[in-house]
């Protein structure tokens, strides 16, 4: 097992390096560079040269790349062009806020999806199944931002029941206050995460149930609940578990739209402002961060998969 993980890790490292090179070159090729943002036409040549030197833009590209990579490894993500603030410090504040929103809503959506998916899948064709599947197919067609708008209209404007701005009221900031701010973005995200997982669980449950072994077991007089619990659940949950690993990048970028709408002080608004302001260092940092999480997530999924299915450990096949 350790050997398997080590081998997967070894594949991941060059992949990460490759991604970092691509990201770096992408940003170098961008139509507008950091120096343009920091200088004005009135500045003297010396001032411009000094600014270039201060930010290391007078060095050859490869030197800049290694300096940047070295910084990344030490947790220094560089500075924003627009605000000149440290990106690492910003992210250190914003990522926890995003996780606070994404993790609970993803988990709630995930557990709900498993329960509803198993129920619907095992009662395939029943009224209950129709209702659950119907809800999932409607929700899958609802844009999350539109859902958020409707929630804001109903609970913010019509009922005036819940706050719709940010994470807390300044000057209050009690737990109840944070909770009140939490409800709408949380509901939006949970609903956004739900249908995909639900349909996945439902269809794999159906696939399992139509397998021969279930019929065999039934033929042998096993109770339906017993079959469900002992066999179907286990077989369904394996791949579902690996989905959890794949969802890792969500922790950073899973709520961009929702955060933007609710002014939640997470990564989303930071990223969108950077995109619109062409603040490349920020975009670069978030891109690197989320691709790293993708790789780690895939790794995690593979490991979970291997743990669940011993055959993979030996064969090494995916």
């Amino acid at each position: 097992m350790a050997k398997y993980i080590a081998r997967r890790l070894l594949i991941a490292i060059p992949l990460l390096l490759l991604i970092s090179i691509i990201v770096f070159l992408l940003m170098r090729a961008a139509p507008y560079d950091a120096i343009d943002a920091m200088t004005t036409p009135k500045m003297s040549e010396e001032t411009i040269a000094a600014i270039k030197a201060q930010y290391g833009y007078d060095q050859p590209v490869w030197v800049q790349y290694f300096a940047w990579l070295g910084g990344l490894l030490q947790g220094n993500f560089g500075y924003s062009i627009v605000t000149k603030s440290s990106i690492a410090e910003q992210l250190a504040v914003r990522i926890p806020n995003t996780i606070l929103l994404v993790l609970p809503s993803y988990l709630v959506a995930y557990v709900t999806a498993i329960v509803l998916g198993l129920v619907a899948g095992s009662h395939r064709g029943s009224r209950l199944d129709h209702v659950i599947d119907g809800i999932a197919s409607v929700l899958i067609a609802v844009p999350s931002f539109w859902l958020a708008m409707l929630l804001i209209f109903v609970f913010g404007y019509l009922l005036r029941a819940l706050p719709i701005v940010g994470m807390q009221t300044v000057g209050d900031g009690s737990f109840v206050d944070v909770l009140r701010h939490y409800i709408l973005p949380f509901v939006t995200l949970t609903i956004a995460f739900l249908p995909d997982n639900l349909r996945y669980v439902r269809s794999s449950t159906i696939t399992q149930i139509t397998q021969d072994y279930v019929m065999v077991q039934e033929a042998f007089g096993a109770k339906r609940a017993e079959i469900m619990f002992r066999h179907v659940c286990r077989n369904v949950l394996g791949p579902v578990l690996t989905r959890l690993g794949m969802a890792l990048p969500m922790l950073v970028t899973g709520a961009i739209i929702t955060e933007t709408i609710f002014s939640w002080p997470g990564v989303g608004p930071y990223f969108m402002t950077a995109i619109k302001g062409m603040d490349y260092p920020i975009v670069m940092a978030i891109l690197i961060l989320s691709s790293t999480l993708v790789i780690i997530g895939n790794l995690l999924a593979d490991v979970l998969n291997a743990l669940a299915d011993p055959r993979i450990r030996q064969g090494g096949a995916r």
């Binding site: 910003q90 701005v165 940010g166 619109k276």
Partner: protein, 532 residues
């Protein structure tokens, strides 16, 4: 004059057009993070004034290079200037008065006695000299161009602890304006600092202003507490919070729900709100900001074609579509804002709508039914409306306008360059009180002349030069009337409106007039604002 980074230009500062400034970590070093945020402060029942601002302050706030609206608002609370110079005249802060020498070159400034820094150190003339010398040695400083001229630097000298002299290399009519607004920083803390933007002192600023910065949560809020020893009297309000609300709609909701006490809205937003039902007060005030359309002379070279375009527009209709109600704006006809004492609309060609004349001019120029591209900064609903209205109006004169939304940063870069692929674009500026402060926008070789008319109009340069050195008020008035007419005659600069900012406050906020509403900072002295 000063830093200028976009189509939005201000003498005092550069103000982000789209209003969405990215977040900054100016005080993350204060050791506050979301994970260990203690969700309770101000439990003392004191008065808290919460003001919604549309973005984080950019650049860790320092009095030398900070030039964005929210950064300057932060500085205004913590630091004090010698005096403020706005449309209503001079308002003294750290200085009590100043004398001008007979040759008009030297200003002798008398400082307020007994002022202390927030850490208890005394404020003296040394701090003033230190600050202005720092500005003069920093090319990127916000006020650099106000103090350093082709003929030399303004010489700043300490006479005694309470007296400083500023000696200009040339006589200029508005010397007092040139040293206004600049904040003074403490010499005893900043001595030895080399990088104004990255240093530890910025993280815990110590000023002479009415409030002290206590806490900054990037993307969330800045919290200030009253400086009880403020030299102009202890502030009425104990705590001020700048709540960062980047989304306009959430801001609208927050003020209506009373989550914030003050917020700046657009007419369209205010019209949507339930002002009376929520007990809100709307106070429109002018920033003297002129919004305009610039025609790129590099691309539309024929002056008569430019004029034809302008004759096809219906300015009052455009203003009305964008700003809804005349109480929210002044229609502009010259490059000076209507609140300027030199404003003279009677002297200029107003380009009132005349579709026939437009067609005639085009026919004479042999360019019937031309097509142009008009660019506006994406995300800006005001200029978007302007552009849509212009497109419709120009069509009646046979002119096709293609509208293109462009990223604000990208647009201001091409505008600075040569205007790129766009025949016309929108901009706006807040300049000084004296008309000479507008020279960087209109002189032939000016960096920020977005019309790019090259050397076609030397008379404009001459009039600016005459106005700057002329000290006789009547003659100046005549010169600036001619200047306004000359700029309009280019047919390249089309002032639209000077839109007011609408300050929306909750019913418990009082003394707004006493606090004074000024461009950029909103309140001239927040210590005078009160709450019930």
């Amino acid at each position: 004059m000063s830093t200028m980074l976009g189509s939005e230009f201000s003498r005092r500062s550069f103000i982000k057009g789209a209003g969405a400034t990215a977040a900054t970590a100016l005080l993350a070093a204060m050791g506050i993070s979301a994970t260990d945020a203690t969700f309770a402060f101000a439990g003392d029942g004191g008065k808290t004034f919460t003001y919604a601002i549309a973005g984080d302050p950019s650049v860790s706030p320092n009095v030398i290079t900070t030039g964005d609206r929210f950064g300057l608002m932060t500085l205004k609370l913590v630091y004090s200037p010698l005096w403020m110079y706005n449309a209503d005249g001079i308002n003294y802060f750290l200085a009590d008065s100043y004398d001008t020498s007979d040759d008009g070159k030297t200003l002798t400034v008398h400082l307020h006695e007994g002022v202390k820094w927030q850490d208890g150190e005394p404020f003296t003339a040394d701090d003033v000299v230190f600050t202005y010398e720092a500005i003069e040695s920093t090319e990127t400083a916000n006020q650099y161009s106000q103090l350093v001229y082709d003929q030399g630097k303004v010489e700043v000298k300490k006479v005694d602890d309470l007296t400083v002299t500023f000696t200009f290399p040339i006589a200029i009519a508005n010397a007092a304006e040139m040293i206004s607004q600049g904040f003074i920083m403490p010499k005893h803390l900043y001595e030895g600092v080399t990088d104004w933007e990255h240093n530890d002192v910025n993280n815990t600023p110590v000023g002479t202003g009415p409030y002290q910065l206590m806490e900054y949560q990037p993307g969330q809020y800045l919290r200030f507490e009253a400086n009880k020893d403020y030299f102009l009297g202890a502030p009425h309000i104990d705590q001020v919070v700048f709540q960062i609300v980047t989304n306009e709609n959430t801001g609208m909701q927050a003020i209506q729900a009373g989550e914030v006490n003050a917020w700046i809205g657009t007419p369209a937003e205010v019209q949507q709100m339930n002002i009376q039902g929520n007990g809100l007060t709307v106070t429109p005030y002018s920033e003297g900001r002129v919004a305009y359309l610039a025609i790129n002379c590099n691309r539309v070279t024929n002056e008569n074609v430019r004029k034809a375009i302008l004759y096809s527009f219906d300015k009052p209709a455009i203003c009305n579509a964008a700003l809804l109600d005349p109480q929210y704006y002044d229609v502009e006809y010259t490059f000076l804002p209507t609140i300027s004492e030199f404003y003279d609309a009677d002297a200029v060609e107003k380009y009132d709508r005349d579709v026939e004349k437009a067609k005639q001019l085009l026919a004479d120029a042999g360019q019937a039914n031309p097509t142009f591209t008009i660019a506006y900064d994406s995300g800006n609903t005001l200029t978007e409306t302007d552009a849509l209205m212009m497109k419709e109006q120009a069509a009646e004169a046979g002119i096709t306008l293609n509208i293109q939304a462009v990223d604000p940063t990208a647009l201001s870069n091409t505008m600075l360059d040569d205007g790129g692929d766009y025949d016309m674009y929108f901009g706006g500026y807040i300049m000084g009180i004296d008309p000479t402060t507008f020279a960087p926008l209109f002189e032939s070789d000016a960096n920020w002349n977005y019309m790019h008319w090259g050397d076609a109009y030397p008379e404009i340069d001459e009039l600016f030069a005459q106005g700057a050195s002329e000290l006789d008020p009547d003659k100046r008035k005549k010169i600036f009337s001619d200047l306004q007419a000359a700029v309009q005659n280019t047919g390249a600069f089309y002032p639209l409106y000077s839109n007011k900012r609408l300050l929306v406050t909750t019913s418990n906020v009082t003394n707004i007039q006493e606090a004074g509403l000024v461009p950029v900072y909103t309140f001239e002295d927040l210590s005078k604002l009160d709450m019930q």
